[in-house]
Amino acid sequence: MPEAWRAANLLTKSWPDGVVVYNLDSGSTHLLNPIAGQVLKLLIDAPADSKTIACLLAGQIDLASDAELDYNIASLLKHLDSLGLIEPVPA
């Protein structure tokens, strides 16, 4: 797992059912659920590692910052990476 992630070149639009993301480099469009959209927006604000994202998210939506959350965030980041929406920050 990379140290930190950053968002690709994206435009986003939030609605109650999720966040629509447009990838300016690939031209692809995705609909993310609200939690995934929030994680992506954190990475648009600033690159961060998985632990930091989990802590920030826990604070924002009143979740327990525990191992389960860490695992889910790590899985989500992998998925966002596979969609080309985030990329590892070069060491």
Partner: protein, 308 residues
């Protein structure tokens, strides 16, 4: 000059020689053809449209009967758009349907100053109801029925959204009805004008319904997107309406857009603006009367109502 002001023989001569420039919404199409079915179709369906014999045209369309052996035993029609042939030759009795396809193709392939939604759009009290849908969903049937009940036809096939203003421009060309929907509409709206049936096309049997004069003469009036309604015709179904969350509406709409990927940021922003301003629904129907009743009760879109 209106097409209806040209006498039938003169219209055919004009089309077969230098052609006729017909204004359809924001476009001028230069149509040239010696084929009688084309002249008949233009005279019947485009009677209220502005035209001229010379001047600028966005598209140059030519339809001819090729001089080959087919001419004797199975006449064909070939067509070109700006001197290139996008379609294979087709039976010549499909000539008018080919013209309509070519008019759509010309817009599909060369227009980048509008976001193009594959769908019908009708308007009432300044607000447009967009009916995006794949073939077979009943959008043209619904569109024709609404138009026959007083909604203004903006388009049956290609909805043009200006990225700059967010408004929808009208095309108001003939409505293309397919297969069973021809009988349905002829029964439902006997006061409308329908053309002859064209058999064995790639979409089955086609017949066109003439756009009402009012829709043609008001073609310069753009409309505010009000409702985004995804229709689905289902045999025997009672009318069912489900509000569609906006994120899902965006994805449903963007997947069917012709030039969204080409427009890039401009397309994304135009689409988000359109979704923001419209009330979005999935709409399943089988009874046109029930469908008309639901549309008649549509309230102004909530975003627009807040602004009033």
């Amino acid at each position: 000059m209106k097409v209806s002001q040209i006498e039938a023989g003169e219209l055919r001569r004009a089309l077969s020689k230098s052609g006729l420039r017909i204004r359809t919404g924001p476009f001028v199409s230069h149509v040239q053809s010696p084929i009688q079915d084309i002249a008949d179709g233009v005279q019947l369906f485009y009677k209220d449209f502005d035209c001229q014999s010379e001047g600028f045209a966005d598209f140059h369309l030519k339809l001819v009967r090729p001089r080959n052996l087919h001419r004797v035993w199975r006449p064909q029609v070939t067509c070109s758009l700006n001197d290139e042939s996008p379609f294979s030759p087709l039976p010549s009795d499909q000539a008018f349907a080919v013209l309509e396809s070519l008019l759509n193709w010309s817009i599909y392939t060369t227009t980048y100053n509008y976001l193009i939604i594959h769908g019908a759009t009708v308007e009432r009290n300044g607000f447009a109801a967009i009916l995006p849908a794949p073939p077979g969903s009943g959008k043209s049937t619904l569109c024709a029925a609404l138009v026959s009940r007083g909604w203004r036809l903006l388009t049956d096939e290609l909805t043009l959204v200006s990225p700059a203003s967010g408004l929808i421009s009208a095309l108001a060309r003939p409505i293309s009805l397919k297969n069973n929907s021809i009988d349905v509409l002829q029964d439902y709206a006997p006061h409308e004008v329908f053309g002859p049936r064209i058999y064995n096309t790639i979409k089955g049997t086609i017949a066109h319904m003439r756009p009402p004069t009012d829709s043609v003469t008001r073609m310069h009036e753009a409309a505010v997107p009000g409702w985004l309604i995804f229709p689905k015709y289902q045999v025997g179904a009672s009318t069912s309406v489900t509000p569609l969350p906006k994120g899902q509406a965006f994805m449903s709409l963007s997947s069917g857009l012709v030039n969204y990927p080409v427009l890039g940021v401009q397309g994304f922003e135009a689409l988000t603006r359109l979704i923001d301003g419209t009330d979005c629904f999935n709409f399943t129907y089988s009874s046109l009367d029930e469908a008309m009743a639901w549309f008649a009760e549509l309230q102004p879109p909530s975003r627009q109502a807040l602004a009033l």
